[in-house]
Amino acid sequence: MFTKLQRTLDWRHWFLGTFPHGIHPAENKHFTAGLPIQRLPFSKRLVLPLSQHAGKPSKPIVHPGQEVVRGEPIALADGFMSVPLHAPATGVIREIELMPTAKGPRTLSIILEVYPGDSQEVRYFKSRNVDEMSQQEIVKAVQETGLVGLGGAAFPTHVKLTPPKDHKVHTVLINGCECEPFLTTDHRVMLEQAEDLVAGTRIFMKALNAERAIIGTENNKLDAVEAIRAKLPKDGSITVQAVKTKYPQGAEKMLAKALMNLEIPSGGYPSSVGLAVFNVSSTAQVGALLPVNGGVIERVVTVTGPGIEKQGNYNVPIGTPIRFILDQLGFRGSAQHIILGGPMMGSCISSLDVPITKGCGGVLVLTERDVQSEASRTSHPCISCGACVEACPMHLNPCQLGRLAYKSQYDEMQSSFHLNDCFECGSCSYVCPSSIPLVQYFRIAKSANREKAKKS
């Protein structure tokens, strides 16, 4: 609380960039923000879904019974809109079968039985000089790392590195906002892997032929700004800037507004206005992996919430089941919600066999007490208070959209009220004093519209 008060009173924070609207949920980052990244032991079994990214699933190149080495590719990209998958640990492939995932439906996953007691050192690598690589080589190398947006969207990174021909990217934005409450993954990465972060930024700039790069973070992470500033190159092409702490500052559209005062057009890409936006964790991974020709085999995950005893930031191998993490870190049995991602946009899991995937930056365990306060609230009719209109970062009219959704007029929601511009940040549901599940309505409306479009 004190630091939040300090930020409000200190005049130097008043003129930082931001975007209009948005909300200020309790940050709850103090539980884990000060804890350095630690390692967890290997789980006995890793579950590696073939579809951890937006786009086509990867094609497996291993068969049950085959031995693999930590870092070795086990599935290849299926076309351009796809990425390969690497073995996060040394062991033997047990099976390729349907397993539950955070998204809901069971998906085809490679099950890897880990050799116990194996070292966490990566032996499968090949050094190379990134400075000598051409733009096409970098894009290809990034695809080979299997990297996707680690902020949560899991969009393949190399696709962002190849903007449409008529779009010229002049500025690379590195997104270190991490506006979700509780999560401190990106914060720790910026503090501890600043060197990799800067290296990755340079690689992105080279691949896109961009003139400059801005690393943006919220002003509740000023220590990270200091840490990065110490590692910046002298030529001034990369800068680091703090913006005001506000949810959902971490959305790329909001970051473009706050740092560059540019609006990414509705239905367009960041490259439409000459930008490319990458998450800090992805950038740091590129900086670390490209020189050694490695693959994404682990990621930093914040394990937090009142239901966890040993909260902290952990470097977790991809595919580690949630059950194993909770076993390791002490789990209070009264948990009511286990959420992958943050509390505003994450998803609840129904099975502890769900693994950590590339896009998952946090495991949040809320206890009975946190959930009860939520369940005891009754829903009222809309009182037109306009709180949602003032919260919506996209300047939509959630109040009107909610009324239409209640009447199932999904077509009109899209044709007159820009439903598809909603990126489901949940600010409207958060502020609604009547507890109307607005964003939930919009998700239903959007999927109903998609189904309809598919049929016709």
Binding site: P25, P181, K253, E263, P265, S266, G267, E309, R323, D327, F331, R332, G333, Q336, H337, I338, I339, G341, P343, M344, M345, G346, S347, C348, S350, L352, L364, D370, V371, E374, A375, R377, H380, P381, C382, I383, S384, C385, G386, V389, E390, M394, H395, L396, N397, C399, Q400, F417, H418, D421, G426, S429, Y430, V431, P433, S434, P437, V439, Q440, R443
Partner: protein, 359 residues
């Protein structure tokens, strides 16, 4: 936490709930907001009781009671759970009482409450669906049905206000109000003229000192006299982020600007802007009634237009209409127009692209 509380999840079935995001909620709910509006109205009620005595206390109790009973009864009739526990109907009762003259017959107040809540709110579907502010619907009904008691004023701070009722208050149901002229003559201090500052200004061109109107030492409806107190109570709600200050600002600014323009044209006949702001029900209307969430627009521009409409129409009615006061009709008109205003002022979305051609 003791060690035994931590268990291994692999050994037992988990009792987890599945929801969709967001999982966090702040504490402000409809009940909390409405309750805080009631808190904000209480000082105004107390000041009114201090000023006009037990008659106002009875008026407040009757209005709130009648509103609560009406809502409860209508909910019972339509076999729905009672919605009285969301506090919104208490606000309606308080606001209605505050807009009535202090000596208003109690039975008429009860009728106005019933009409306001039943016709103005519940017939439309209850909280959230009413087109107009129910308290003002009740008052408009009273204005039309009981014209004489609605314009009968009593002196403030009369000596035995805490020991005896204003005679007209205790009129028996369905009878004409007891005339108060004798009582007023007995109790009036420093030559009370039996009129509010607005009526004095309109019909006799006698201005009243603005300081008096700010502090509330004038005649008028029970809750409208002290502009300063109303502003302070409104400030509390704004600080709690439970009221839209833009509506209030827009109403007051437009009213000041419009009356200022007329004042500059002819200072002899038209009142100055400060008089306009402090007199009559403008302050109470701007702070507590125009800001009624249900009946006001939600769009950013719509809010300013709505407020400006109220401010402008109020001044026009006051200066050129037959009535000395126009706040009530201005707000009711704006309430009726607010869906239109909302529809006409849809916010411009982030990254809006101009659509080419038709569609």
């Amino acid at each position: 936490m003791n060690k035994s509380a931590s268990r291994s999840p692999s050994q037992e079935t988990l009792n987890v709930q599945l929801h969709t995001s967001p999982y966090l909620r702040p504490s402000a709910s409809v009940e909390v907001i409405m309750r805080n509006v009631v808190y904000a109205l209480l000082p105004i009620c107390m000041f009114s009781v201090y000023q006009f005595g037990i008659s106002v206390l009875a008026l407040v109790i009757v209005c709130v009671g009648a509103c609560l009973l009406t809502e409860h009864f209508v909910c019972l009739c339509s076999s729905k759970p009672s919605t009285t526990n969301d506090w919104s109907v208490v606000i309606t009762g308080l606001l209605l009482a505050l807009t009535l003259p202090p000596g208003f017959p109690l039975w008429m107040a009860a009728v106005a409450s019933i009409v306001g809540v039943a016709v103005g709110k519940l017939f439309f579907g209850g909280l959230g669906y009413n087109v107009m502010n129910p308290a003002l619907v009740g008052r408009a009904f009273a204005q039309a049905a009981f014209t004489v008691p609605m314009t009968t004023w009593v002196p403030y701070l009369s000596e035995n206000r805490f020991t005896e009722f204003i005679p007209s208050s205790l009129t028996l149901p369905f009878l004409r109000p007891i005339p108060t002229a004798d009582w007023v003559a007995e109790n009036a201090i420093d030559g009370f003229a039996g009129a509010t500052p607005l009526a004095l200004m309109k019909f006799e061109q006698v201005p009243t000192d603005s300081i008096q109107m700010l502090l509330g030492t004038t005649a008028g409806s029970s809750g409208e006299t002290s502009a300063l107190l109303i502003l302070l109570c409104g400030a509390y709600l704004v600080m709690r982020r439970m009221m839209n200050w833009r509506i209030t600002a827009s109403v007051l600014l437009t009213a000041a600007a419009t009356s200022g323009a007329f004042y500059l044209l002819n200072p002899e006949i038209y009142p100055d802007p400060l008089f306009t702001l402090c007199s009559g029900g403008l302050m109470l209307g701007a702070v507590f009634m125009a800001t009624d969430m249900v009946a006001s627009p939600v769009t950013p521009w719509g809010i300013w237009i709505y407020g400006a409409f109220i401010g402008f129409v109020t001044v026009i009615i006051r200066l050129f209409g037959g009535l000395p006061e126009g706040v009530m009709y201005a707000i009711l008109l704006a309430n009726a127009a607010s869906p239109l205003i909302s529809a006409a002022t849809q916010p411009k979305i982030y990254g809006a692209v101009k659509r080419k051609g038709g569609q």
